[in-house]
Every structure is written in C-alpha cells, then in structure tokens.
C-alpha cells in the first residue's frame, strides 16, 4: 500500500470519527476523543524512538511541554493566528530536540535514557523558576485566546475534537511514511545492529539525531493540542511522570506493531479514568498493573496478542 492508501484509510477513519463525535456529541465522548488524540500522538512519536530506532528516551515530555508553552505564550501575547502559532511552536520543539538530541544521541543507551530525563528536569526547573514568563508553579493562567480561522473555532469542543483527530491522523500517516521509507529502514538497522550500519557507511549520529528531531516535533504538536485542550500550560507537562506515562502507553500497546501505541494510549486513558473513579491511590494501582505486565508478559499487550496469534497460525500450517 502506498501513502495514498494510508491517506485514504486515514480519511475514512476521520469521517467515521467525525460521524461518531458529531452524531453523539456528548461532552464526555468529545473529551475522550481529544485526550486520545493528544496522548496517542505523544505515544506514536515516542515509539519512533523506542520501537523503530531503539533509543529509550525518558525525557520525551520535554518537547510536549515546549510545544504547549510556546503555543500558549504566543497566543497570549496576541497578534498570532492559531496556524502560525502552531507552526512556531512545532519549529521551536524541533530546534529544542536538535540541541538536546545533539548532546544525547551519541551516548550509549543507559546514558541516553538518563540524560534525556535530566534535560527534561532541567527544563522543568527552568519553567518553575522563570515565574515572570511562565507563571512558575501555577502554570500559564488566564486562558488561551482561540480566534477562529478558516471557519474553525477551537473554542468549540466539537471543532477541537475534529481538529485534534485531524492532526493525529495526518501525523500518523506522516510517521508511517517515515517508518517505511529507506530512512526508516536505516533506523531499524541502527536499532538491530548499529555496528553493521556503521560498516555500511551510515552516519549513525545523523540518523539518530534526525529521528530524535522528528519525534520531538510531533511531541510538540501533541503539546500544542494539550494547551488548546486545557487552555493553559502547566509544569506537569514537562515533569518526568508525563514521559513515564508515554512509555507506559507504548508498553501497554506494544512496540512492534505500528499502531500499537495508539491502542496503548486508549487503554491507558480508559484505565486511568477507571482507577481515578474507584480509588485515590492512583500510583499504587497503576504501578502494580505495570509490574504485572512487564514482569509477566515481558512485552506489550498487542505484541503479546500478535505473537500468540502468529504462533497459532504457525502450528496450524
């Protein structure tokens, strides 16, 4: 299937989503759709690093937060239209990823995980201490103006849900192109056998950095959607738990299936809502489930299902 096929599928998905969202129109459904788009995009972008390139980043929320804060600050400053502010926020996230990535991707995997975490916490403490710009602990208050553009009014939950779904699907199509391109094949080779890739003349540093920047860019877009959704930006966006949650989603879904992170994001959000409803000891329950999953299955739910299915197929043949 070419990219046209993907685009067609995405279009069908969008129409189906739109029909459901607008048909039902219940606030809770729209709410869930928006959050799903945000965290689905976040998880998909992170999986380009973890699943495709084999770089375990523990600081992905840095770009999520950067996108949210840049967008929020630009919109609050006035004089920016939403598309221009989104573009600027994405470019800023990409530049940030370029700087952090240039320092991190040359390191071995354990250092990489820790260093991305460290840079994210540096950004977090910067946001907390630069009160005059970011509002510190309180976050960006006062709401984010959402002037309509092209007939789209993002202040309306239905419009925002459709817009988020559109961003998600467009990004997923784009990410799929990246993964299936020769560039994506090179990334998988870096994951599986970096020495061989180096022997073949691939410049490992550049490929990893490019993957890091692409992932950071899409995370920035997810951050923009988040700041539109909550009409603000908060330090928790760049806290390490947000990165942890993204990895958790990927783990729930599975890293080997392309759309696994999307499934994981959906499962995580449902799980999260359910746990919040029944108990206040959120971390205890979530952590226990994660432990059972990781130590029991040793792979994502979808990975597990796919492997089990393949095994059955193999036995039949």
């Amino acid at each position: 299937m070419t990219w046209r096929g993907d685009a067609l599928l995405a279009l069908l998905g969008f129409v189906a989503l739109a029909a459901v969202a607008l048909g039902l129109g219940a606030p809770s459904v729209l709410d869930f759709a928006i959050r799903f788009a945000i965290f689905g995009l976040m998880a998909m972008s992170l999986n380009l690093l973890i699943g495709t390139t084999g770089l375990v980043s523990f600081g992905h929320a840095a770009f999520f937060g950067a996108g949210a804060y840049t967008f929020g600050l630009l919109m609050q400053s006035g004089g920016w239209s939403i598309p221009m502010a989104i573009l600027a926020a994405i470019v800023f996230s990409a530049l940030l990823a370029l700087v952090i990535g240039a320092l991190c991707v040359r390191l071995s995997e354990i250092y990489f995980a820790f260093l991305t975490l460290a840079f994210q916490m540096l950004l977090h403490s910067l946001v907390i201490s630069w009160v005059s710009l970011t509002g510190g602990d309180q976050g960006l208050m006062g709401g984010i103006p959402k002037p309509p553009f092209l007939g789209i009014d993002l202040g309306d939950a239905r419009h925002l849900a459709l817009f988020s779904a559109f961003c998600l699907l467009a990004s997923v199509v784009a990410l799929r192109q990246v993964v299936r391109s020769p560039f994506g094949a090179a990334l998988r080779m870096l994951r599986d056998n970096p020495e061989r890739a180096a022997f073949l003349g691939l410049f490992i540093f550049r490929y990893r950095l490019a993957a890091f920047v692409i992932a950071g860019t899409f995370a920035g877009l997810a951050g923009v959607l988040m700041s539109l959704y909550v009409s603000g930006a908060f330090p928790t966006f760049l806290y390490w738990t947000t990165s942890g949650e993204a990895i958790f989603m990927i783990m729930l879904g599975g890293i080997t299936v392309f759309l696994g992170p999307l499934a994981g994001a959906a499962i995580f959000l449902l799980l999260n809502d359910w746990i919040t409803n029944i108990t206040e000891h959120h971390g205890l329950v979530l952590g226990s489930i994660l432990l059972v999953l990781v130590l029991g299955l040793r792979k994502g739910l979808l990975d597990f299902a796919v492997d089990a299915w393949r095994e059955r197929q193999g036995r039949r043949a």
Binding site: F58, R106, L107, S108, I110, L117, F119, S125, L291, V294
Partner: protein, 300 residues
C-alpha cells in the same frame, strides 16, 4: 546573576568557610546516594531509577523511628537498615528478574516501583512536608571558624559520611568481598565458575547500595523537608554525579559529588536562579570533552 556578590564572598574568609562547609555537607550526602547508584550499575549492569525513592524511604523510616524512640542513632540505623531490607526485597522479587534485559524493561520496572512506593509513603505518612527535629545532642551553638558559621550538625554529618566513604573505599579495594565484587563486575561468569555464588554477591551489592541511599535519607531528614516524590531530584543529581565522575568509579563519584556540592553552595550566591542549570552545564561540558567521565574508563 550576581557575580559581584560571588566575588565579595570569595574575598571574605568567613563567607568562604560557611559556603565550603555547606558544600562539603551537600556533596558528601550526595556521594552516599551516588556511590550506591554507581556501584549497582557497575556490578549489576542495572540503572536503578528507583534509587532516589530509596533515599526518600530512608528519610521516612528515620522520621518514624525518631518519633518512636527519640534516639538519633536509632533513627539513622532504622533508615539505613530498613531501606537495605526493602532494597533486598525489591532486588530478589522484582529486579533480579530483569538482569540482562534492555533499558526499557529496567526503566518500566523502576517506574512502577517509584509509582507504588510514592503512593505507599503517601498512605502511611501523608502527603505533607515533614521535618525531623534536630536531636538535642546536636543543638549546640554553631562553630565560628575564621568568622564563618558552621552548624554543629554539619560537622556530625561530615564526620559520618567521610567515615563511610573511607570504609567503602577500603572495603572495595582491600577485602576479599571487595575483590569478589570487582571481579563480578568484570566477568560474572568466571566468578561463578570459581564457586562463588553470584546471586548472593548481586543481592549484597544491591543491599549495600540501598543501605547507603537510606543512610543518606536518614541523615538529611533533620535538614531537608521530607515529602513524597522527593526522590526524583536526588536521583537526577546522583546521575549527574555518575556522568561527571564516570559510571562505576567510586573516586570519580566522590570528586564529582564535592564538585556539585560546591556548585550548589557557591552557585546559590552567584547564580541563585541558575544553580541547577549550572550543574547541567558542567555535565554537558564533561560529556562533550570526555564522555566517559572524569575517572571513567572508555565505554562502548
């Protein structure tokens, strides 16, 4: 940024003494946590992302023991050995299952442990900031050295941590157990073939690392506030220490801990808002110039 302030501090003996004593104390406490982290990584090949959480647990254990007995010694022992025990349980039941797997697994298991322990702490001790009272024995007037103020408790802390550092260095360098541990770090298969139970060695190393973290938590309880989630910042700092000093090197960890301690104490005068940024800057510089750290051997 206030370089003038920093210059005038460096010009006065009293200010230098005060800041050096603060820097030494911060640095030595950090060393206790970081040396455990680097030891565990060097021998087990595991990055214990939950190490800061063990530190937090040590502070809470000390708090409870002090409340129950009123004895500082009991509090410190409870912090150190309570956490060592918790660490052993963690290692035996959870972490030992993921030795040799990829970073993603280690990360996820530690993430789950942090989530669970932070919540458990919140259930048992509540989510508010707590602080341990300074024991009466240490409530003495601060010492005046060359006009600089040095709190008495800082001297106690420095004495204990320096003794532990020496003990650790001696234990690793000159005892049979230390040699076994260093051998297991290089070639665990060979150590096992020689009839040494590497499972026990691994558990012991993790236990020692946890003990050091718990000890640091207990010792810091009277001077820092204790709160759920406090482990993450000390984890990041310990990691910066291991990067600057070199993963697996005790001496490198000591030098880097003191460097960070001074960065904190003097940085808070010169760059009050950018102290943390300064630590990251030093780390980035070390990574660019010598990626294996100051005392580290080349790693792949």
């Amino acid at each position: 940024m206030d370089l003038g302030e920093l210059a005038s501090c460096l010009g006065s003996a009293s200010c230098v003494v005060t800041q050096v004593s603060a820097g030494l104390t911060i640095g030595m406490l950090l060393f206790l946590v970081a040396s455990g982290l680097t030891l565990i990584f060097g021998v087990l090949g595991l990055v214990n992302f939950a190490h800061g959480t063990l530190y937090m647990l040590g502070a809470y254990f000390a708090l409870s023991a002090y409340g129950a007995t009123g004895s500082f010694l009991a509090a410190v022992l409870a912090g150190a050995f309570g956490v060592a025990l918790a660490g052993l349980v963690m290692e035996r039941f959870l972490l030992s299952r993921i030795y040799g797997t990829d970073v993603l697994m280690q990360l996820l298991v530690c993430y789950a442990i942090i989530l669970i322990l932070d919540d458990v702490v919140k259930i048992v001790w509540g989510g508010d900031f707590l602080k341990m009272d300074l024991p009466d024995a240490f409530r003495r007037p601060p010492l005046l050295i060359a006009g600089g103020i040095v709190p008495f408790y800082y001297l106690v802390l420095f004495g204990i941590t320096a003794a532990i550092a020496l003990l650790l260095a001696f234990g690793m360098g000159h005892t049979r157990f230390g040699r076994t541990v260093r051998a297991a770090a290089v070639n665990p298969g060979m150590v096992g073939a020689l009839g040494i139970n590497t499972t026990v060695v691994y558990a012991a190393v993790f236990g020692i690392g946890a003990l050091l973290a718990g000890l640091a938590g207990a010792l810091s309880a009277p001077i820092r506030s204790v709160v759920p989630g406090a482990g993450v910042s000390i984890l990041i700092e310990s990691f910066i220490v291991t990067v600057i000093g070199g993963m697996g090197s005790i001496w490198g960890a000591l030098a880097a801990s003191l460097l960070l301690g001074f960065t904190r104490s003097f940085g808070s005068i010169g760059f009050p808002l950018f102290t943390e940024g300064l630590m990251f800057l030093i780390m980035a510089l070390v990574l660019l110039v010598k990626p294996s750290g100051l005392a580290g051997k080349r790693h792949a």
